[in-house]
């Protein structure tokens, strides 16, 4: 019983101690909850706008694919590839909203594996070198009809890398395997005219583009403001410090484990094209840049829409201003270093990873990895401060 009494005394003593500490180091946690509320609201605006932009570009991609398939030629294929590259730019920025079981990667029905599943064993979809009949496209007897239901159902069915849908499936169907040192894959337009299974391949591509816009439309609907039964409403209703922690965790995880780790370091370590994110189109450098931009959007609370509007308000940075006021400059400087160093990653990525550790490409990648890791550790520190504040209340 004495221990119990001691504990109660300790509990009641804590807030006093923390206020004293707060006064000493210049923290100003009184308005933390209010700032968190504003952060959550501004974040919701940014998330909604960027998914809407992603959907708009995916619609353009779907149209470009339809135009190409109407009368397939090299010019139409080029136009579709350009549309794919453009469609990636807003979507990659939305990866900053992953990793806290929001609509994108909720355990039950998050569409992330269907949208950006990777790495992809392409032979589950279509032919590869040495296997001319490979994949669902070539497997007429098991899959006589290719439709949305089939492609969705088979995604990851044969394992985590058996990706059948999403951006990378479309990428593979537009570019083909990348067997060139100095350029991306070069699938000929005749794959959609005279080649074996051309019609099935065209159907598959159409289905993938259609699924992609379905999934992005779903995400827009989960983040659209003013509804009372979507995720946006539920998220806004959470305790503000808790929601703010999810926002922080998302960019912390993207910067550290995902971008610095899975996307950059693994390929740096293995020097294998198989570990490259967008390996068919050789656009992995763009992937990294727009992922980093997504992190910056959330950090600064700022997003520029495709039609030129700017959304601006408190970002994760506002939490640093309150919880670590003496270090905001460090956070800003590291954010800048992330953007700058990621911007220095050369293309094509599959060539940049080769060689010894002193070649410029590998040094550039490692520098970006280090800044991303640093920033992830700093975001983790900020999260811990937020948790301490949460428990004080």
């Amino acid at each position: 019983m004495i221990a119990l009494i001691l504990r109660i005394i300790l509990v009641s003593a804590l807030p006093t101690a923390s206020v004293l500490v707060a006064a000493e180091d210049g923290k100003n946690p009184e308005n933390l909850a209010e700032v968190c509320r504003e952060l959550v609201e501004n974040y919701g605006e940014i998330v909604h706008a960027s998914y809407r932009d992603s959907l708009a570009e995916a619609n353009r991609l779907e149209e470009a694919i339809a135009a190409f398939l109407e009368d397939p030629d090299e010019a139409g294929l080029e136009a579709a590839k350009k549309a794919w590259i453009a469609a990636r730019q807003p979507y990659l920025q939305t990866e900053a909203y992953r990793f806290y079981a929001g609509p994108i990667d909720d355990d039950d029905d998050g569409p992330e594996p269907m949208i950006n599943g990777w790495p992809m064993d392409e032979y589950h979809v279509d032919y590869v070198e040495g296997a001319p009949e490979a994949g669902i496209v070539g497997d007429v007897s098991n899959y006589p009809e290719i439709d949305k239901d089939l492609v969705a159902r088979l995604n990851e069915k044969a394992g985590e890398t058996a990706i059948t849908s999403g951006y990378h499936a479309i990428e593979f169907l537009l570019w083909g395997q990348d067997t060139n040192a100095d350029g991306p894959g070069d699938r000929p337009a005749t794959d959609y005219t005279t080649a074996k299974h051309a019609d099935r391949r065209a159907t598959y591509l159409t289905v993938c583009a259609d699924l992609l816009t379905d999934h992005l439309a779903y995400l827009v609907s989960e983040w659209v403001p003013g509804k009372d039964d979507n995720f946006r409403a539920e998220f806004a209703g959470r305790p503000p410090l808790e929601a703010a922690r999810s926002i922080l965790y998302g960019i912390h995880f993207l910067a550290g484990k995902e971008l610095a780790g899975e996307r950059l370091l693994v390929a740096w370590d293995t020097q294998e094209q198989e570990d490259e994110h967008s390996c068919f189109s050789d656009t992995t450098d763009q992937d990294a840049r727009y992922d980093a931009k997504g992190i910056e959007n959330v950090y600064r609370g700022r997003y520029e829409t495709l039609d030129g509007k700017t959304i601006s308000g408190p970002g994760a940075r506002a939490l640093a201003e309150i919880l670590m006021p003496g270090k905001v400059e460090d956070y800003d400087a590291k954010m800048d270093a992330v953007i700058e160093s990621v911007g220095e990653i050369p293309a094509p990525f599959d060539q940049a990873i080769l060689g010894d550790d002193e070649v410029p490409g590998r040094r550039a990648i490692m520098t970006a990895v280090e800044h991303l890791e640093d920033f992830a550790f700093m975001l983790a520190d900020l999260e811990q401060e937020l948790v301490k504040e949460t428990n004080r209340r």
């Binding site: 119990l4 504990r7 539920e234 410090l241 808790e242 999810s246 294998e272 198989e274 948790v387 949460t390």
Partner: protein, 466 residues
């Protein structure tokens, strides 16, 4: 729409003041009670609950973790292939990747509706003793049934699994049902072999998280709990398995595997590479097939050994060593705390030892000096005839099993979507697993069986909070 909150925000929450009518021991969860892995503990309760690196991981180990993770997840392919870093699969294999069985670093599942098994495998042996006291492999089929093979080689066969359901009753008269598996080996046609007397050992892929911490528990601390002759007369013995360490070339304490037949994570991993995927390493340079099998294959090239380099093997090992145990949920709930007392009262905690400490000077700094709550003693216990698989392994008798850790128990369904417990996955719920406990654990099982329903629920709620 149902949404799960993936992040528990109670990381450093302070115990709520106790209600006046609670007995004092219930009112006092230990400080850190929720921290299953001490400072390594992660707060994650969704699908990725077993997949996160140690909370305190440093930069160097984080990098090794990330690269190891990619080799743990990605499928290996038959050599020669364009992916030079990931070829060497087979000729015989059970699965193409570690994660095929340890899905999301969690546990395997038993096959359903005639599907080919993946998360479950079968060890094979014949009576007698192999080298260094290991089980004696079958002269043609070797020591594990391979249900898959690369082109040119042939799978060894399959096992038909049948379950017989039967009913039992709790002390209060309410009914329960259990299922007892039976196995029939269906050999493939490729190999001529005498299968009389062959022993089948079903093994479900266990979850991987926390193995680094278990490895960091000092050997003396484990051996100190051993009571092989039940000298203290509590009906519970506890024996260490003594197994062959292929690197140190001597007999040492076994820690990993259902019968503690592997001394460390590295050897366990190398054994799984060669046994489950047909990938040779410096530790196990020879393929897992026998000469009799090699003789019947056509056009299967001889492989170059090792197929997995020390560098990659070490990264896959470090990946697993740095997978964190998840924090407990609801550890402060009065009902859960009541269940915790019942767990102790039933003497479950005699083998499922709640608290251990890792070595203060352990070589991996993040794992050193941690107070952990794995709920295991890492020792072998006689679990009775009902669970015996008839296949001894080093010192472990047919009915002896290593106490499996319970941390993360309540998250199995979230991670893997299904629940299969015990070495062969026969138990479909935690309660079924309890009801299968026999041998040294019989008294504990009977204690549970005789509890009133509310107390049984409290005990299950406690297990669900782990």
């Amino acid at each position: 729409m149902k949404r799960k909150l993936a992040l528990l925000l109670a990381a450093f929450a302070i115990a709520a003041p106790a209600r006046a009518d609670e007995p004092p021991e219930l009112a006092m969860p230990e400080p850190g009670e929720e921290l299953s892995g001490g400072a390594t503990t992660v707060f994650q309760d969704g699908q990725n609950a077993f997949s996160l690196p140690l909370a305190n991981i440093g930069r160097e180990n984080r990098r090794l973790h990330v690269v190891g993770n990619s080799f743990f997840n990605k499928p290996w392919v038959a050599a020669p292939a364009s992916t030079a870093g990931r070829d060497g699969l087979g000729p015989l294999f059970h699965a193409v990747s570690c994660s095929a069985c340890h899905t999301r670093d969690g546990r395997g599942a038993v096959p359903v509706d005639g599907e080919l098994m993946t998360g479950l495998l079968f060890r094979l042996s014949v009576p007698g003793e192999g080298v260094h006291g290991s089980p004696k492999p079958h002269p043609v089929y070797g020591d594990q049934l391979a249900v898959r093979a690369i082109p040119g080689a042939s799978p060894e066969g399959d096992v038909e699994i049948e379950y017989e359901e039967f009913a039992g009753r709790f002390g209060d008269g309410s009914p329960y049902r259990l299922r007892r598996p039976s196995y029939r080996l269906e050999p493939g046609e490729a190999y001529e072999a005498d299968l009389d007397g062959i022993m089948l050992g079903p093994r479900l892929a266990p979850p991987v998280h926390g193995v680094g911490l278990l490895e960091a528990v000092p050997e003396e601390a484990i051996l100190a709990r051993a009571d092989p002759d039940d000298a203290d007369g509590d009906g519970i013995s506890g024996r260490p398995n003594l197994v062959w360490d292929v690197v140190r070339k001597k007999t040492v304490l076994g820690r990993f595997g259902w019968k503690a037949n592997q001394p460390n994570v590295r050897q366990q991993t190398a054994a799984a590479f060669v046994g489950d995927m047909g990938i040779t390493s410096a530790l196990f340079p020879g393929e897992a097939h026998t000469a009799a099998q090699r003789a019947v294959w056509k056009d299967v090239p001889e492989s170059e050994s090792p197929e997995v380099s020390d560098d990659i093997l070490d990264k896959v090992v470090r990946y697993q060593q740095t997978l964190a145990p998840p924090a407990r949920r609801n550890w402060n709930d009065p009902n859960v705390r009541r269940g915790q007392l019942l767990f102790a009262e039933a003497k479950c905690a005699a083998c499922h030892v709640p608290k251990l400490a890792t070595a203060a000077d352990y070589g991996i700094a993040e794992l050193a000096g941690q107070t952990i709550r794995p709920y295991t003693d890492l020792l072998l216990h006689d679990m009775g005839e009902d669970l015996a698989d008839g296949r001894p392994d080093f010192q472990a008798g047919a009915a002896e099993w290593r106490t499996p850790p319970l941390w993360g128990l309540g998250l199995n369904r979230a991670v893997n979507g299904v629940e299969n417990y015990l070495h062969d996955g026969r138990a479909r719920t935690v309660e079924e697993a309890i009801l299968w406990h026999g041998g040294e654990a019989e008294a504990s099982r009977e204690f549970y069986r005789e509890l009133p329903a509310a107390d049984r629920d409290a005990l299950l709620d406690f297990l669900d909070s782990l």
